[in-house]
Structures are given as structure tokens and as C-alpha cells.
């Protein structure tokens, strides 16, 4: 009887076959919709810091290095892969990839650093977002500085948000003598 039971068990297990995955030796893809490591597209990112402000675990940092460079540091160590950064990103620069094999012995291996080229504010001298659609900013990124008021007037006419009132304001515009504290 004992032997017969064993034979029956063998038959049952033979029917079902081998279900064990040969995982580490064969690749296994994540299912569709899986949120793995977020990946930044540095060609699209405008450095608006929306992802840094809304990250629940605060793993995304943005710092201004100098007037032109803003650095985005993503430290994956305490990331919960919620996908909020990818939802928020206005330029769709963040994609949640299907990479999940992230095990390391060094925490630095799962960081991402993006150096962003920013515009410099002519008033305060700090970084501000590069607006790609603005032709004035495009000129500025090519190295053109519109310090001369005569040239500036000409450029103003070519911008997308041109209006006669705005033109009048820019004609009589003067730089402040001293910055207000």
C-alpha cells in the first residue's frame, strides 16, 4: 500500500512536469506594466525639479552647481518605484523601465546623475528652466546675450508671445540701478 501510494505520487508529479524556472541561467522578462528602475532622458529634461519635489522617498536631488549647470542626482537606494516622477514629468523625460536586476554590493552603482544645462537669469544670476519653444532662449543657448537694448527690441518682435503692449514696455525698459534687497 505504501509503495502503491508512492507510485501514484510519482505518476501525479510526472503528469504536471517540471515547473521550476531555470531563472538565473535563463533571462526572465518582467510582466507588462511592471515599474522597474526609472531612467532619465537627458535630452528631454528641462530641470524643472517636479520629480524632486514630488518624490515620496526624497531620492531625487537637484542642485545648482554654477550659473549654467544644474545637477540631478537620483539615488535609487530608497526608491519605492512608485512611478510618480514619470507621471509628473512634463516633458516625459522619465520612463519606468523593466529592469529589476539591480542587486549590488555598492550603493553607488544604482545612482544616476544628470548634468543639465540651464539658462541664467539676467536679473538674479541663477538658473532657470530652459524653455525649448522660446526662440529667445534658443538664441541665448547659442551664446547670444541681449544686453544691448536696441538689439533686444528687435528680438522681442520675433518671439511667440509678441504683443504691442509688451513692445512698448520693452522700449522704455531700463535696467535697475541697484538691486532691491
Amino acid at each position: 500500500m505504501w509503495l502503491w501510494n508512492k507510485i501514484k505520487q510519482l505518476a501525479i508529479s510526472w503528469k504536471s512536469g517540471v515547473v521550476t524556472l531555470r531563472y538565473p541561467f535563463e533571462p526572465r522578462l518582467a510582466p507588462a506594466g511592471f515599474r522597474g528602475q526609472p531612467i532619465w532622458d537627458h535630452t528631454r529634461c528641462i530641470g524643472c525639479a517636479g520629480c524632486a519635489n514630488h518624490c515620496p522617498a526624497r531620492t531625487i536631488f537637484l542642485r545648482d552647481i554654477c550659473q549654467e549647470i544644474r545637477v540631478l542626482l537620483y539615488d535609487s537606494s530608497r526608491c519605492t518605484y512608485c512611478g510618480r516622477c514619470a507621471d509628473l514629468c512634463p516633458e516625459k523625460a522619465i520612463t519606468m523601465s523593466d529592469r529589476y536586476e539591480l542587486a549590488t554590493e555598492n550603493k553607488q552603482d544604482i545612482t544616476q546623475t544628470v548634468e543639465l544645462f540651464m539658462m541664467t537669469c539676467q536679473r538674479c544670476g541663477r538658473c532657470y528652466d530652459l524653455e525649448v519653444k522660446n526662440s529667445l532662449d534658443k538664441l541665448h543657448s547659442l551664446g547670444y546675450r541681449y544686453d544691448s537694448l536696441e538689439v533686444r527690441k528687435v528680438i522681442r518682435q520675433n518671439t511667440a508671445d509678441f504683443s504691442p503692449e509688451m513692445l512698448e514696455k520693452t522700449v522704455i525698459y531700463e535696467r535697475p540701478k541697484q538691486l532691491e534687497k
Binding site: R63, C66, L73, Q112, E115
Partner: protein, 186 residues
């Protein structure tokens, strides 16, 4: 020849002790999932044991909370000397969303030394197997730090900014001149 065979037969059999230090049970369920016949880890000689004294490795899950901190330390000390610690899940690695809360140590890193980090919230069972297989030398590491740049400058802007800050007296007074550019990397 005999010694090599013995090495191959006996060395790479890791008995793990599952240490929950205040996790939400997400990572624990995934660890249990690993032990099922579907992801059969006894192929690699990995077994779950009940006592840290029998174990070679600790699977630490959860941000180490204040009540569990002495217990985690005791469990770590109870493991015999060549020991590995796997931090599983984002809580055990860096503290998760609770990295700066009053009642949380801020990750297993601050309680006990950790050898391998397995990120995920929770990590997939495959990710856990991958992490342990990485420690056993069965697979290669697939991640590396990524550094992207939008524009390459002809001059070293980091050095320029650094010089500007070191020459400025305000940053000296604030004492921030060191960790401004390193982002805690050092």
C-alpha cells in the same frame, strides 16, 4: 582533485535566516515566494533556518525600527563569523519613505554592516534570487552608476564654481564648502 570536489560540494550552500525588522510584509511574502517549488532555491543549496546560529546569511527586510534595533544587532552577532547580510527592499537599504522619521534607524546600513543590496519595493522573487546568485558568483553584476550630460563645456565648470565658492567668504562661514559638490558621495 578530492579537495576541489569537496569545495564544490560543500562550500556554496548558504543557509539563510530571515530577519524582519519592521517591514510591511511585502518583502517577506516575496522571500517566501522564493522558497516555493516555482523558484526552487534549494538548487543552490539555499535553505531557510529558524535560528541565526545555524545561518550563514541574513535576509534583512524592513527599515530597522527603534524597538527592533537591539534585536537585529543581537541576531547579527549570533551568526557565526563568515557572514553575509542581504538588505532586501528599499526599506532595508535606505529606509524607504521613512528614512528620516523619529522611530526608524534609517535603513539596515546604520544598524549592521550590509554586504549586498537588493532594491525593489518589494523586489521581485527573481530579483532576490539574482542578488543571492550574485553573492554566490553565478551571475554578473548588471548595474553601474550612470552619468549623463546635456552639454560638454570647454572649461571645467565644477572647478570654476568650486573656486568661486572657496574664494567667497560666505561659504567659508557656513562651512558648506565640502559637501556642496560631492552630494554626500565622498
Amino acid at each position: 582533485m578530492w579537495n576541489k570536489l569537496v569545495d564544490k560540494a560543500f562550500l556554496r550552500s548558504v543557509w539563510v535566516y530571515h530577519c524582519n525588522s519592521g517591514a510591511c510584509n511585502g518583502c517577506d511574502i516575496e522571500i517566501l515566494n522564493v522558497l516555493t517549488p516555482y523558484y526552487d532555491v534549494e538548487r543552490f543549496g539555499i535553505r531557510l533556518v529558524g535560528s541565526p546560529r545555524h545561518a550563514d546569511a541574513i535576509l534583512l527586510s524592513g527599515a530597522v525600527t527603534r524597538p527592533t534595533l537591539p534585536l537585529v544587532k543581537k541576531a547579527y552577532q549570533a551568526v557565526p563569523a563568515p557572514k553575509l547580510v542581504f538588505a532586501i527592499g528599499s526599506c532595508a537599504i535606505g529606509g524607504g519613505c521613512w528614512y528620516d522619521t523619529y522611530n526608524v534607524t534609517g535603513g539596515g546600513d546604520k544598524a549592521i554592516p550590509i554586504n549586498y543590496f537588493i532594491p525593489g519595493c518589494p523586489p521581485r522573487p527573481e530579483a532576490i534570487i539574482y542578488g543571492v546568485a550574485l553573492a554566490l558568483g553565478l551571475v554578473d553584476k548588471k548595474v553601474a552608476p550612470v552619468e549623463l550630460k546635456q552639454m560638454e563645456f570647454p572649461v571645467d565648470m565644477y572647478r570654476q564654481a568650486k573656486l568661486l565658492e572657496t574664494n567667497n567668504i560666505i561659504y567659508k562661514l557656513l562651512g558648506e564648502e565640502d559637501d556642496r559638490l560631492t552630494f554626500g558621495r565622498k
